[in-house]
Amino acid sequence: MVSRMTDAHDPGPRDAAAETAGPSVATRALGVVGVPLRLALGGLFLWAGWIKISHPQDFVDAIKGYRLLPEDHLVVLTTFAVPWIEIVCAAALIVGFWTRAAAATIGLMLVTFMAAGVSVILRGIDVRCGCFGEQGLLCSGELGWCHIGENSLMLAAAALIVAGSRHYLAVENLFGRRGV
């Protein structure tokens, strides 16, 4: 007969059951959904970074158009740092290395860009987004609320990846530290 009395050192039947049950349904679902999200978001930002890197002078024009950076050397720094950060994080997302950190970094960049975009819209400045070159993604033309909405979708995807504690098909799983 198994005693139902537990003490501090005995995990108890409910905790023991939880340990052997594995990840929850939500965790598994996030893990499954996370794969296409990682690939899509990573692919998007790889493309975005590559376009900016290929034509840095175009990106300078876009950054200047926002009229937020007061110093020229900050414009130059942003011109080259932003696309390379995008590429590094995109690569990390795609292969699944430092997955949550890469998604969090992309999320930070999206929040920063959205704040800059809202500032531009409220100041009535006509400027091209400069995010995906001339083609644009879902939105085209001058920077507007459509672009803010477009970035919100990407931010939501990044947030889901960060929320996931288990990532399938990820290189980081080889190192035995899942979900970090």
Binding site: Q57, D58, D61, T79, I85, V88, T105, V180
Partner: protein, 199 residues
């Protein structure tokens, strides 16, 4: 997830940003970009002409015996940004007939009204390494006067930078842009250009 795991994410975010920034800085050393018009965009900007006239005040009218032209002479103390010229100098270049005027505004603004004879050369025409077709007809020492909407419009400077990168040596930016030309009652035109050769 342990406390150490939670700390790992911010640290890794910082590491990713640092890595991208370092690579970007290295890239910038090999592929410099231009944020401002480089010095010497034009041999005779407002500053140099003002200084020349300040240095030789007796030259005006002395050679021809005629009174000086009824144009406001640029004052030596007037300071304009690099490469910018005032309306007086723009009129001189227009009257000489050697300068080409380039309109950097949106096409609908260009069609609505523009400096007579101006070509439409917006910044978009230079994107992705392109060069506007009309520039192929101009020698590199052709005086080019770029203008946009005045005020805080920076399109003319951006176009001027691209012109400089393309090899043109005499680039002028009309300070205060098209509104200054219009206010001075100078020649304008509208509609589709007679000779299509913008970009």
């Amino acid at each position: 997830m342990t406390c150490g795991d939670r700390l790992a994410i911010p640290l890794r975010v910082v590491a990713l940003i640092a890595l991208g920034t370092v690579i970007g800085l290295a890239d910038s050393a090999f592929r410099p970009v231009q944020v401002r018009l480089a010095p010497g965009a034009a041999a005779d900007t407002e500053q140099t002409r003002g200084q020349q006239q300040a240095d030789a005040p007796e030259r005006r009218g002395a050679e021809t015996g005629e009174p000086p032209a009824a144009v406001d002479e640029p004052r030596p103390s007037r300071t304009l940004p690099e490469g910018h010229i005032g309306i007086e100098r723009a009129v001189e270049l227009f009257d000489e007939g050697l300068a080409q005027f380039l309109d950097a505004r949106h096409r609908d603004e260009f069609l609505e009204s523009r400096i007579m004879g101006a070509h439409h050369v917006p910044l978009e025409a230079f994107r992705r390494g392109r060069t506007p077709e009309v520039l192929e007809f101009f020698a590199f020492d052709t005086p080019l006067v770029v203008y946009c909407g005045g005020g805080d419009c920076e399109a003319s400077e951006d176009v001027a930078i691209r012109l400089q990168q393309s090899g043109f040596q005499r680039i002028y930016i009309l300070h205060d842009g098209f509104p200054a030309w219009l206010d001075a009652g100078l020649p304008v035109e509208d509609g589709e250009p007679a000779m299509e050769g913008g970009w």
